[in-house]
């Protein structure tokens, strides 16, 4: 039996921008959302952040993309409808959805509030729902999701600058805590000053941690130190600077997704230091066993965070006035925005003004 078109799959008409092939170019698409079931929350999308993952997926760089694909997993808006069994939200609430819209809710990971590591976790876009249809993300006018995967956005956190926290924010917040790099007085390095990196600096500073930004571009130093509050800045290509900083860091959050050398980063760590990768290079990196063994160092990875921790992160951000630095754009600028993001030409996240500029 032929599967239904995106427009006919579900009962609620919806509209968004989708990529239709590996060029990754986005253009308008009519599709549909499911009815608001008893545990669902439906909301009108106001803003959606553009994550680098959106670019990887629209261009099928990971080989898993099914077209058409509507990206977007930094989604914020206002609740328009709640299912009959929804307890946590009501119409008019300010809410957000991040990278996940479903999980099995019964495995060890789900029971430990680690839905992000559930083997049956369903991504917000480009993944298969339990009913066999594909999930569509936040470059669209409405969202429907199970209340478990919705976070509340506190009133004092503006939606446009809060949206990127739903992916970028939790992606750096979770490992800062899991790897114990959140303790006041610690010294943490942040590699890469982009969407993830700039938010990592802000969270770490709010946790009382001393922060050094490590970047290939010397021209980001002033920004890092004066605007973002970093304590110092290391140009990774400058051997002398890197040498002088050897053995000074308790941990490093590495946001760079291109292939890059690990040994200089491991050398920056003190003994017992931890290098945590949140960007995922597609080729393996070289690991010198001596570098880990001689100082009992660790290389680890992390992938977003569970729903409980995502809410905790949002509340922490609201309390400490942590917001993303964004460039708000109209929907039809999205292809240009993607090109600029590829060149790192954004300070530091594009956010689509969906409500005002997504017009069918």
């Amino acid at each position: 039996m032929e599967s239904k078109s995106p427009e006919l799959e579900h009962p609620k008409p919806a509209f968004g921008w989708a990529a239709r092939d590996q060029s990754g170019l986005l253009s308008p698409l009519k599709f549909s959302r499911r009815e608001t079931e008893e545990k669902d929350v439906a909301f009108k999308v106001l803003y959606c952040g553009i994550c680098h993952s959106d670019l990887h997926m629209t261009k099928n760089e990971w080989g898993v993309t099914q077209y058409p694909i509507i990206p977007g997993h930094e989604i914020v808006g206002i609740v328009t409808e709640v299912g009959s069994k929804v307890e946590k939200f009501k119409v008019g609430d300010r809410v957000g959805v991040g990278c996940m819209v479903g999980s099995c809710r019964s495995c060890d990971s789900c029971h430990n509030n680690l839905e992000n590591y559930c083997p049956k976790m369903i991504l917000t876009y480009g993944a298969k729902n339990y009913d066999g249809t594909i999930t569509y993300g936040g470059y669209s006018d409405i969202m429907v999701a199970n209340e478990h995967f919705i976070v509340r956005i506190p009133d004092n956190l503006s939606l446009d600058v809060g949206a990127p926290l739903l992916c970028a924010g939790i992606t750096v917040y979770s490992p800062l805590r899991y790897f114990g790099l959140h303790k006041p007085g610690m010294h943490v390095g942040v590699v890469g000053l982009g969407g993830l990196g700039h938010v990592a600096v802000k969270f770490a500073k709010a946790m009382g941690v001393k922060v050094t930004v490590i970047s290939t571009s010397p021209n980001k130093k002033q920004e890092a130190v004066e605007n973002l509050g970093a304590d110092s800045f290391l140009v990774s290509r400058d051997q002398d600077q890197m040498q002088a900083a050897m053995g000074t860091l308790d941990g490093i959050i590495d946001t760079v997704s291109a292939v890059h050398p690990m040994p200089p980063l491991l050398a920056l760590l003190k003994s017992h230091g931890k290098l945590v990768l949140v960007g995922a290079p597609e080729k393996p990196l070289e690991l010198h066993a001596f570098a880990l063994i001689a100082g009992r160092k660790i290389v680890g990875g992390s992938c977003i965070g569970g729903m409980k921790e995502t809410q905790e992160m949002i509340d922490f951000a609201a309390k400490h006035n942590i917001t993303a630095d964004v460039e708000v754009i109209p929907m039809d600028y999205v292809n240009t925005a993607m090109e600029r993001m590829l060149k790192g030409d954004v300070r530091y996240r594009f956010v689509i003004d969906v409500a005002k500029t997504l017009n069918p």
Binding site: Y117, P284, E286, L287, I293, G295, R296, I298, G301
Partner: protein
């Protein structure tokens, strides 16, 4: 001009040394320092042959100094104690492992982590504070600061205990540090050699389920029947490996040759930890996706501090854990090294120094 090894120090000593990168060992006359106020002089009874001895004798890591007397799994009897030494007396049975000194004043030394002190001095192939080389346990006597000497529990056999001074602490320390001590959890051990076989015994003593992962199926019966492992996984059987994906809480990787990490990362559950202990001379390839998607980590570990080394020996004594050894004569050492390079030993050679070294002295 620097003095000869024989003249450097006041007390004559004799051992076997590697003289060049061939790694071939032969008789060697040298000398030991006077027994200082903090020192203990030890007549060496046994010394384990660690794979590091082979790496170092052949300069595989690039920092060997010749002549080199290897050996850092030393068991012997105290023959002299300095005036400040209260912990030991003559005739005590003691051990010396991988270190003979550290700065004693840094944050690591203060936390009983002498092994991470930036000024830690290795038992052999390192420089003492006076600029002379340290010589290890393939010799008749050694003089060591009391802080770096451990007591051998009475119930332990000297030969079976010697390898614990490196192999034992090398696996015990990361098992504690990385939290691999929760009964019922599943530990995979890659490589069934000197480190691996001790890890099986200690893992079982911690109440863990233990799977040995090895490239040779011929080790299966040994692993299950004699060492007490719960299961055995042949690493080059793709179907069996796949069936075991996502089943292990931790993995200890003892393999000293270059090898792929990806298959072992797949064996780990989410939040799993792989600890790498072997020291290959070339880099390993680390795939990042599995670390990120499963919040997994790869960590290292380097022997253990002195306090933990004593704790490990006492733990082993309590649980009747000793190494499985093949005792050899000093003059068989070169053959033993060749066999070690081919993993042809169950599971550690131990040199019967007291009974065979003198015979090789001219």
């Amino acid at each position: 001009m620097a003095k000869s090894p024989e003249e450097e120090h006041p007390h004559k000593a004799f051992g076997w040394a590697a003289k060049d990168t061939s790694g071939i060992l032969s008789p060697f006359h040298f000398s030991r320092r006077d027994n200082g106020v903090e020192d203990v002089t030890i007549k060496i009874l046994y010394c384990g042959v660690c794979h590091s001895d082979l790496h170092a004798a052949k300069n595989e890591w690039g920092f060997s100094r010749y002549p080199m007397v290897p050996g850092h799994e030393i068991v012997g009897l105290v023959t002299k104690t300095g005036s400040n030494v209260m912990k030991f007396k003559v005739d005590d049975r003691v051990g010396v492992g991988v270190m003979v000194n550290s700065c004693k004043s840094c944050e690591y030394c203060h936390q009983d982590l002498e092994n991470y002190c930036p000024q830690m001095i290795f038992t052999y192939n390192a420089l003492n504070h006076d600029g002379t080389k340290t010589y290890g346990g393939y010799s008749n006597t050694i003089v060591v600061d009391q802080h770096f000497v451990v007591r051998i529990p009475d119930s332990m056999p000297s030969d079976g205990c010697a390898p614990l001074l490196c192999a034992g602490i090398t696996v015990y320390s990361p098992m504690k540090y990385y939290g691999m001590t929760e009964p019922g959890k599943h530990l995979g051990i890659v490589g069934l050699g000197g480190l691996g076989h001790v890890a099986v015994k200690i893992g079982k003593a911690f109440g863990l389920k233990v799977t040995v992962i090895s490239s040779s199926s011929r080790k299966e019966r040994e692993a299950l029947d004699r060492l007490g492992a719960d299961s055995f996984l042949v690493s080059n059987d793709p179907a069996k490996m796949k069936a075991a994906f996502g089943t292990m809480d931790y993995i200890i990787d003892t393999v000293s040759a270059v090898h792929a990490l990806a298959p072992y990362l797949s064996l780990l559950k989410t939040n799993g930890k792989l600890v790498t202990l072997g020291l290959p001379e070339k880099p390993l390839e680390l795939p990042i996706f599995p670390l990120v998607l499963g919040r997994k980590l790869v960590g290292g570990s380097d022997v253990g501090g002195m306090k933990e080394t004593q704790e490990m020996l006492d733990f082993c004594a309590k649980h009747n854990i000793a190494a499985d050894v093949e005792v050899i004569q000093m003059d068989q050492i070169n053959t033993a090294m060749e066999r070690l390079a081919k993993s042809d030993v169950r599971y550690r050679f131990v040199i019967d120094v007291a009974n065979s070294l003198a015979q090789s002295q001219l």
